[in-house]
Symmetry: C2
Subunit: 392 residues, 2 copies
């Protein structure tokens, strides 16, 4: 199935073929990362409309940029898994692929006759990854979930923001992205295990489980102390001084994560008394006296503007920086230097810029462009022809 080697994407996963039934974000973000690492992704879409996210804005000339960003470089085949002729094509693909991934509710694939047990019996080398809201066990197994629901259930919203202020969603779909990241990790460990043993496994990712793993620190804190962590505004629960500080103009971030950095910070602030203050001698005692310490630091910082402070902090080697908006983040000199913005295209060929590959690995190219996102069913004929050629 990985046909002409010259067509293969370059990357550590070159040669791996993933049959991708997933929609919207959790699964598609996983297969985006796998594609960036060199795997071939064959996106199986419902011929009646395809991936829901083809309807999600923003749009350019009627085409979804949301969809194009996450599905660039993938192939699309439209298959109605209730029609016998399409099922035959799907089963030929199952026999040839390394991994199948879906993010339906548990039970959906079983009803189609394509649950893990059935597929494993017939295709013993096929790795199966499911990314669902709650995973394939437990009392909530069949409950529906989207990003926002697991953000709420997992508690991340309750520790973000300012005390007493209205609660807010994390501004990126961390419920979906989290599940996509852990699914990628699970699939790769399954690929490694299969490489060593020949055995294929079922990777069962629940979005809520992933949220809980991201909550490891507030959860450990609660489990150890019985105190329910609340929102901390701009502060860190365990490290001081570490957070958002005012200056003469805009706010900046200072992260003095250990005693050495704190002493350097006192030097930059020209505050020798602060360095000697016994309340501020260790990270533990600084965290205990966080309000007093933050007040003293703020009083000094307000005497000059952010740019000047950041230059001094930078020169002293103290981790610090501005609070960027999206424009600022993308204009940061490091963003271009690390090739974190690349060019791709919508299915109709409209060029769009999107985020690049954060996983830089020696020996593999990190090109400035990516193949376009597919139109619904665009590669059906080519894939069917490829299958026919191989079975001759």
């Amino acid at each position: 199935m990985p046909s002409d080697p010259s067509e293969l994407p370059r990357g550590p996963l070159a040669g791996v073929v993933v049959l991708d039934l997933s929609r919207i974000l959790a699964g598609p973000y996983c297969t985006l990362l796998l594609a960036e690492l060199g795997a071939r992704i064959i996106k199986v879409e419902d011929p009646r409309g395809g991936d829901d996210s083809r309807q999600y804005g923003p749009f350019i000339d009627g085409e979804s940029v949301y969809f194009a960003a996450v599905n660039r470089g993938k192939e699309s085949i439209g298959l109605d898994l209730k029609k016998p002729e399409d099922r035959a094509v799907f089963e030929q693909l199952l026999a040839k692929c390394d991994v199948v991934i879906e993010n339906f509710r548990p039970g959906t694939m079983d009803k189609l006759g394509y649950g893990w047990e059935a597929l494993h019996a017939k295709y013993p080398r096929l790795i199966y990854c499911s990314a669902s809201g709650f995973g394939h066990s437990g009392p909530f197994k069949y409950a529906p979930a989207y990003d926002m629901v697991v953000q709420g259930l997992g508690g991340i919203m309750s520790v973000t923001g300012h005390e007493g202020a209205p609660v807010a969603r994390i501004g990126v779909s961390i419920g979906d992205l989290g599940a996509g990241l852990y699914a990628t990790i699970g699939i790769q460990s399954a690929l490694f295990h299969r490489e060593r043993t020949g055995e294929a496994t079922f990777v069962d990712i629940g979005m809520l489980d992933c949220q809980l793993s991201l909550m490891e620190n507030p959860a450990a804190r609660y489990l150890a102390t019985g105190k329910v962590p609340g929102p901390m505004g701009g502060r860190h629960a365990s490290i001081t001084p570490f957070g958002i500080f005012p200056t003469g103009d805009r706010q900046i971030i200072i992260a003095a994560g250990n005693d050495g950095l704190f002493r350097k910070l006192c030097a930059v602030l020209e505050a020798p008394a602060m360095a000697e203050d016994r309340r501020f001698a260790t990270n533990g005692s600084r965290t205990e006296h966080v309000l007093a310490l933050e007040g003293e630091i703020a009083d000094i910082l307000k005497k000059d503007v952010a740019a000047n402070w950041l230059a001094k902090l930078d020169a002293a080697g103290i981790p610090a920086g501005p609070i960027n908006d999206v424009k600022g983040a993308l204009e940061h000199p490091q963003t271009a230097a690390r090739r974190m913005v690349v060019e791709t295209a919508t299915p109709k060929g409209k060029k769009v810029k999107v985020i690049g590959n954060p996983i830089k690995i020696s020996g593999f190219a990190d090109p400035p462009t990516r193949a376009p996102a597919p139109a619904l069913g665009q590669h059906r004929d080519a894939i069917v022809a490829e299958l026919a050629k191989e079975t001759k």
Copy 2:
């Protein structure tokens, strides 16, 4: 080096040995995930104090729960990499391990003589992963960074919260956790590639790059439209209705991600006119008229309490849920059913509960307990003895 097979952790990465020089969270979270997947983790710590996070609260009887949660099940060896006798032990370990990971600033390992080029020349099968603030290239290569700094630089804080309200940190260390997740993915793709080709590679993870990848949607939005995305409160930028809604008592989340779910929602709300309203016919037009739609929904929801609405939404199969605090998240019935809270211990043996493994893979145990976190240097003698035995 994976010695007695009966001592090996069970998992898809069983047999993989990771030499872990990382500290605090980004690297240690990566090796926690690798340990959960069955790899053996040998934590190399500075004998003078070890991992900084041993000093991070909360504490139980003077021991850090922060440290214990992330470092359970790892081994610790204290090595001063400036002393010849400790360098000799370290080099024996390098010769036997599969992966070395560190999260120093670029240059630190080179100064010790242990940069990627030097190690690759001497240990051609050793995979090297660096997780640094800005990665090993670009003008900010040598700049220091902590979680909070890259949260600020990457823009995630600018899209989280409510318009006009003070900006806040994401309440978990998403800068570190993100880098840890992408590092895990990079290491596993390198392991797969080495398994197939014999070639070891350098995995270069920059925390800022990882933040940008999490920002793929707001970034694509900005790059496509030129409009800088701001905080959206409880709303999703592309999907409507999808967010936080008031009820007669507390707020709930409703996520009606497609037209079918929206029609079901109108039925639950007993609002046939809303279902027929042409402004609300598609996700695109609902997003355009989000304020009008949210207002109509809120007026109906306020007539009853959250628990009643959630029961009705649940019965209708509409993704919805409460906004949990940490206690609520951990008490969710699914959390225990999925074994997402497990028991481990501090180095001195104090039992603590921590978050379990979100990556469930068939055929591998998901036990209710984990080996304790190590005391600084606890396994030095055993590891040195093991090395001596093997070189005989």
